[in-house]
């Protein structure tokens, strides 16, 4: 194994598929598969159902439906092991099958990503542990894209911040550890936020555990680790961003194409479910029809159609990260080019060879045309949203709050939105945004808003408020947890007393230039284009590490300047880390992490550097940016924008516990039950 090859996400997918198929082979004969719903999507990212069938899977059931039948003798459960609920449900179903089943079943459980003591205990108490063949299926990261790795833990945000359950942090540490095992230690671990600190500590701890296992027995030792790990040649650093330090970015409405698709339709596992009346029916209709009849309500309007959204679709790869404002223009450009291509072939001298060429390219055209049609309809539908009165009202409030104008001016607006029965998530996002940016609401204002929300949406939302306050999204100004961080206080971040403080946006807005007024959306010169003028703090922090000069100059940066000025930091490795931005960091919530990892044994390190020779030094290195608690599509777009600027010197790989958006963040707190008779 080449120890320091740069990170290739395809390898991760391949390994996951191999592991799963190997496990399936281990169970002889045909089998029924019972899969946890939340796992089905991620598994679908690396293995197709047809492949599963080749490996003897007859039918697939969802664990939550509790409807697996006795059609096959072998029953396999595939479930995450961190939650007791799943284990209980599995135990229940095994008992049910044993009672009602006609055949003598053989049960297997593939625990993802590991078998836990707790799950064993639950199965034991149910009296079924003995007849279950328990195996581990170690998937951690699943690749969503070449540059995006995700744990796809849907509730990691509420687990971490509402329930304070660090299970997903532990899994994240494991996942990053696996990366280190195959690619070498992260030479430098940078991070911001209390949980980022904890994660970094876990990584250090696991490393020392690793040192012991490598020479004693090896329970975790599928990877040959005779030698201690040494710093990687292919990776230059890991940057951990705790979601908690920058909540406003999640609360704002994303304005990139992909971001808006997520806001309007919700993207899960690279797929979005869209009403087929919008995008046309799934069967291969005549592709020559214009996009107009797609928007006409068809007979099958009730049906939902799944749309694959990833960069294998060239058109989407081009559109996804752009600001929505220019998507229309891009679409019509592509449409015109397609049209021209199509017709030029007709006019061409009709020799047989030219015709053959044309016919060979035809499937490509048809695919492109189909994709164009889908995205035109999607864009039209999103346009309907963005043109609505409520949408522009919400956006107006957001922009004002982000820009730092006095929040109380916006209160009438918010009151009106509530009275007009605007969706609760949108209203809560605005209030939380104000609370996060302005360090809590005045107690009097907060009570007024709470009252009108209870009146408009129901008194069950008393529970919603309690949850929001626990997460720290919506607080009263007097609460001690909402104290501003003074730039002078606590140079060591969390070291300063007074409990957790929140990010001081008034200070950071200036020092990190979060507001960029003159941003150009069609040819962006700054990451602020993803929110039409607001630069996500999280990505600014990443820039503070890898694009120091560009960031320092960005006030004067015109379009040409930023593009042509190569960051001086690339030349000098000496000024790595947070250097130069310490004061900005001090006014951001939580601890600051900056650790350097060196090899445990000098000999191995020397040997390796000899092996690598001089050639390794110049190659482009990978920076892993890990978002603990989720990342938004807008932030991914912004990071891709940064990566494009760094091309040749650096690759950026985004890793995260899951993809989040404001609705899901606020939704984690919302009480779903009402006072009506159920």
């Amino acid at each position: 194994m080449a120890p320091h090859a740069s990170i290739n996400t395809q390898d991760i997918a391949d390994k996951a598929r191999r592991d799963l198929l190997q496990l399936l082979e281990g169970v002889r004969g045909k089998k029924n598969l019972v899969i946890e719903k939340a796992l089905a999507g991620p598994v679908g990212l690396f293995v197709k159902f047809s492949t599963l069938q080749e490996y003897g899977v007859d039918r697939v059931f969802f664990l939550e439906n509790d409807n697996v039948d006795s059609s096959q003798r072998n029953v396999i459960f595939l479930s995450r092991a961190e939650k007791a609920k799943q284990a209980q449900s599995i135990a229940g179903q095994i008992k049910r099958l044993r009672r009602t089943g006609s055949t003598d079943h053989e049960f297997s459980v593939f625990w993802v990503p590991r078998r836990t003591l707790v799950c064993d205990q639950i199965l034991e108490e149910a009296g079924v542990l003995g007849e279950v063949n328990a195996l581990e299926f170690p998937v951690y990261f699943v690749p969503l894209e070449k540059d995006v790795l995700s744990l796809e833990l849907d509730d990691s945000f509420s687990d971490l911040y509402l329930r304070k359950d660090p299970a997903s942090m532990f899994l994240a540490a494991r996942a990053l550890m696996l990366l280190q095992q195959s690619h070498g230690l992260f030479p430098r671990i940078l991070g911001k936020g209390d949980n980022a600190k904890r994660l970094a500590d876990l990584l250090t701890r696991m490393r020392s555990e690793q040192d012991v296992t490598s020479s004693a027995d090896s329970s975790a030792g599928s990877i040959p680790s005779r030698l201690g790990l040494t710093p990687s040649m292919a990776i230059d650093s890991l940057i951990i961003i705790d979601r908690e330090i920058d909540l406003p970015t999640v609360l704002l409405t994303q304005l990139t194409y992909e971001g808006l698709i997520d806001e309007v339709f919700t993207v899960q596992n690279n797929q979005a479910e869209v009403d087929s009346s919008i995008v046309g029916a799934p069967p291969s209709q005549n592709t020559s029809s214009s996009s107009k009849d797609a928007s006409q309500p068809s007979k099958t309007s009730a049906l939902k159609r799944k749309i694959q959204l990833d960069s294998s679709d060239k058109l989407y790869a081009q559109l996804r990260d752009t600001n929505f404002a220019i998507v229309g223009g891009l679409l019509s450009k592509v449409a015109r080019r397609l049209q021209a291509d199509y017709e030029s072939r007709h006019k061409a001298n009709q020799t047989t060879s030219e015709l053959r060429d044309f016919v060979a390219k035809l499937p490509g055209y048809q695919a492109e045309q189909a994709s164009l049609k889908v995205h035109t309809s999607l864009a039209e539908e999103i346009m309907k949203h963005t043109r609505s009165d409520l949408f522009s009202r919400v956006l107006e409030v957001q922009q004002n709050l982000a820009a730092g104008s006095d929040p109380s001016i916006m209160h009438d607006n918010i009151e009106e939105l509530i009275a007009r029965d605007c969706p609760l998530t949108a209203v809560l996002r605005l209030l939380c945004l104000e609370s996060c940016i302005a360090n809590g609401l005045r107690p009097k204002d907060l009570d007024i808003f709470k009252r009108s929300i209870l009146h408009a949406y129901g008194h069950q939302h008393l529970l919603t408020f309690a949850a929001l306050e626990k997460i720290g999204l919506l607080t009263a100004r007097t609460t001690s947890a909402a104290g501003y961080l003074l730039p002078t206080a606590g140079s060591g971040g969390g070291a300063a007393g007074g409990g957790p403080r929140v990010t001081n946006y008034n200070a950071v807005r200036k020092t990190l230039k979060l507001i960029v007024d003159e941003v150009n959306e069609s040819d962006p010169n700054d990451i602020a284009y993803v929110f039409s003028g607001y630069a996500p703090l999280s990505v600014r922090l990443v820039q503070a590490v890898i694009q120091k000069t560009a960031l320092a100059q960005s006030s004067s940066a015109t379009r040409g300047l930023a593009a042509t000025a190569p960051p001086a930091s690339a030349a000098g490795t000496a000024s790595q880390g947070w250097t130069g931005f310490e004061s900005a960091l001090a006014s951001i919530r939580g601890a600051t992490v900056d650790e350097t990892q060196v090899g445990s044994s000098k000999d191995a390190m020397r040997a390796r550097s000899v092996l690598a020779g001089g050639g390794g030094a110049g190659q482009e290195k990978t920076t892993v940016v890990f978002f603990l608690g989720g990342v938004t599509f807008a932030e991914i777009a912004a990071l891709r924008f940064v990566a494009a600027r760094e091309e040749g010197r650096r690759r950026i790989v985004v890793a995260t516990t899951g993809i989040v958006a404001g609705d899901r963040v606020v939704g984690a707190a919302i009480e779903k039950r009402g006072f009506g008779a159920s």
Partner: protein, 234 residues
Amino acid sequence: LKGKRGISFGEIARAAYDEGRGRLATELLNYEPQAGKQVPLLLNMEEDSIALDKAIESGDTDLVFHVLLHLKKKLPLASLFRTINSRPMAVALVESSAMDQDWELLKDLYYQDDRRLDGSNLLLAEALAQTETTPKIEKLRMAAKLLQDSRENAFQVKAIDEEQRLLRMQDAFDKDLADQHNRFAGLSVNETMFRLIKMGSAKRAQRVVSEFKVPEKTYWWVRLRALVAKRDWH
């Protein structure tokens, strides 16, 4: 020996413990970096709180749960609560798992810690789970009672009180304007007004306005929407 790679202090400690030298074993275990190996041994040695601390240190939630389940079986609840009390991660895990399966435990926990708001919210959630209005109101009353004598929860108490009045009012509307498919019970204040106006019962809507002191602006928006909806209907 310290500082050498590849020495398992866990095994040495186990040997020491088997020899009956518990203190030494505990001491030795401090050098064992793998929590997975420390914890079960510590539990064996009945060093419960040390085991819990080590499990928490490891960050491995599975280990923490393992210790917690062990303790829960062994200790009376009160002393279990005392043990976890000073350890926020343990409390969080107990809360989070009890939320899924054991509400009574949660109530006890909140009661012992004097976390009234949390306890009251629990009752609130139970009220939501009730299907009939009367037990709903009863649960709400209990939720309010828990909070009664503290000033900081005045808002909460008032809101719970409001919901009780609203439920009673809606019950009355349901009797007067019997409609099996569209019951009032469970609607929010604004939704109640909306439906009343749409049904043409402006007088009753006015009663809601005065009962809950709905601001004029809100009322006008609701009325506007309701009237628009009504016209569309015809």
